[in-house]
Every structure is written in structure tokens, then in C-alpha cells.
Subunit: 154 residues, 2 copies
Amino acid sequence: MNMPSKEYRQRLIEELVEREFISTQAEIAEHLALRGINVTQATISRDVNELRLVRLPAGNGQHRYRSTPLAAQEDVVGELSQRFKLFVRDLDRGENLLVVTTDEGHASGIAYVIDKLDRDEIVGTLAGQNTILVVCRSGAQAEALLDEFESLLE
Amino acid sequence: MNMPSKEYRQRLIEELVEREFISTQAEIAEHLALRGINVTQATISRDVNELRLVRLPAGNGQHRYRSTPLAAQEDVVGELSQRFKLFVRDLDRGENLLVVTTDEGHASGIAYVIDKLDRDEIVGTLAGQNTILVVCRSGAQAEALLDEFESLLE
DNA sequence: CTTTACTCGGCATATTCATGCATTATGACC
DNA sequence: GGTCATAATGCATGAATATGCCGAGTAAAG
């Protein structure tokens, strides 16, 4: 009948969830129905999956669907992993400091990506030619981060 | 019996979801059980809510629980709303441009917060003394954004 | 026109998550 | 100790989401 189709519907959904407080998929379907688009919750579920929308708890039992910049963060992790495999030679830790040793000249490039992780536990990074100093808030956090970075190398 | 209790358990959950690919709350409960913490899915549900963890679709039908920097984004929206109510006098749109008129001298302050929204549909902002030009990718996006901004003023 | 391959979406249902209610633990106060 | 108030949690179940299966639609190839 009408033919706006999937792509159009998904654009509407994205706009919708940013504009309104929507807490269930059924609710999304209702809104679309007002716009003349009749689909079931099952379809919305598939859309939500493809759009990688997220049901964010407000902390008080309320929920709201949102689009997610988490997707971007995922990519940062991928990027980090790739560069780690290529350029990182060694990882070490002393107290709350993480020391990353890289191929010559690659320290600042890697440090840049580490910064982009935007982790709370990282106070800052300092890069030389082949060494990065990652300053964490605590030794425990540095240790956890070391584990995490090591797992990237596997 | 043991007494680490809620707070400790929630810390473990936060670490857990960042370290492992966890897709259901039952799975979280299983992992905790290995650590000697026996709680039911109901409790995990409440924890997830308090921690504001999010079940992020991978796009392929897989899911992963993650902590969310979206909480920060929420705050940005709150901040924006507050400043809008105080300082914004008018909103208008021409094609893909959004024009925000503010109290004298407040344009760049407001523009700064708009930038922090980090919205894909916003190409950039340009602020004068009492006027902000928000450049969107399309007219439709500008219109949607206009609606959204207007709702902040209510 | 027929066949084949593929995408989309509904229906029914399975899976997962949220929550009202009752119970038990914890702590403050007497 | 006892009593009260509050927080935490389990159980059972309701609410919400995900998905297997199938049929309809479309397009390309023959």
C-alpha cells in the first residue's frame, strides 16, 4: 500500500526516540501508527536491533529508548586492539602507572587512541617515542586496565 | 553469611560486563555464583537498573550488557534545557539552518552546550552575541531539532 | 511467463526482564 | 533482650522483547 518502507520507518524511529520519552517498543509502534505506519512490535524489535537503540534505565525503574554513541566506543576498542597487535611490544605496571612499550615512533599514535577511550579511571597519558605512561587513579584500576590491554594482544 | 552485600556485588557486575560478553541477566547471576555470590535474576534486574547498565544490540541479534556513558549525555540535555529556559528567546528555521536567539552575550555559552550534544545531524554551530546558527545536514533534521529544542522551553 | 533467490514482516511463541508481595536481614533505639 | 523502621531479596508472575517459521512481495535470470 504505502511504500515508505523500512529505511524511512527506521529514520522516523531514530528521530522519535530522541524527541520523546519512549519506554517500550509497543509505544514506538503506536507513534508510527499515528503517522500511518502500521507494523507490529516484532518489526520494531528488529528495527531496534539494527539501529542499535538501547533501553536506558533512568535508575528509578523508568526506561527510555535512545540511540547510542556506544557504537562509536565499540569502534574505538576495535581500533585500539588493531594497533595494539601491530605496534605494542610490552605492557607493565608500577602502582597506578601503566607502561606501554611500542615500536619506535608509535607511542603518540597509540596514546591518542587510548585517550579516545575516555575512561574515568585514566587520569591522563604521556607519550614519548616508544613509551606511553598511562596514569590511573589507583593501583587496582591500573591492574584491571593492564589485564584488559593484555587481552587485546591475544 | 558472607557480607560483601549489594555495593560489592554491583561493583563486580560493572567490572564483569566490561570484561566479558554478557548478554542476559541470568548469565550475570551465573558468573556471580562462581564468585560465591548467589542472587536471583530479580536482584540482577534491580542492580542493572541502579547501575543504569544497558543491553546493547550488536546489530546481528547478539546483545551485550554495557555500562553507559549515556548517563553523561543525559546530563548535557538537562544542562541544555536549563540554559534554554533561562536564556533562549526565540527559535527559527530556514532550510537546514536553525537560528537560536538568546539573551545578549549568551550565544556562545549556549552554543558550547549544543556542541556537547555531539549530534550527528549537526554539522556545526556558529555563535555571535545573541544569535546561534546551527547547521544541520538536512532540512528534515533541522525541523526535528527545532521541535526538540522547542520542547525544552516548555 | 516461470523459476529462483532474497527481503520483509506478521503471527505465535519462547526468552528475557520487571515488579508486587511477603519474608528476612540490618540497624537504631529503648 | 524487644520493638520498630528500613533495606534487601526471593518467589511468582506479569510485561516486554526476541525469534522461528511461513507467506507475500520483488527482482533478476532463464
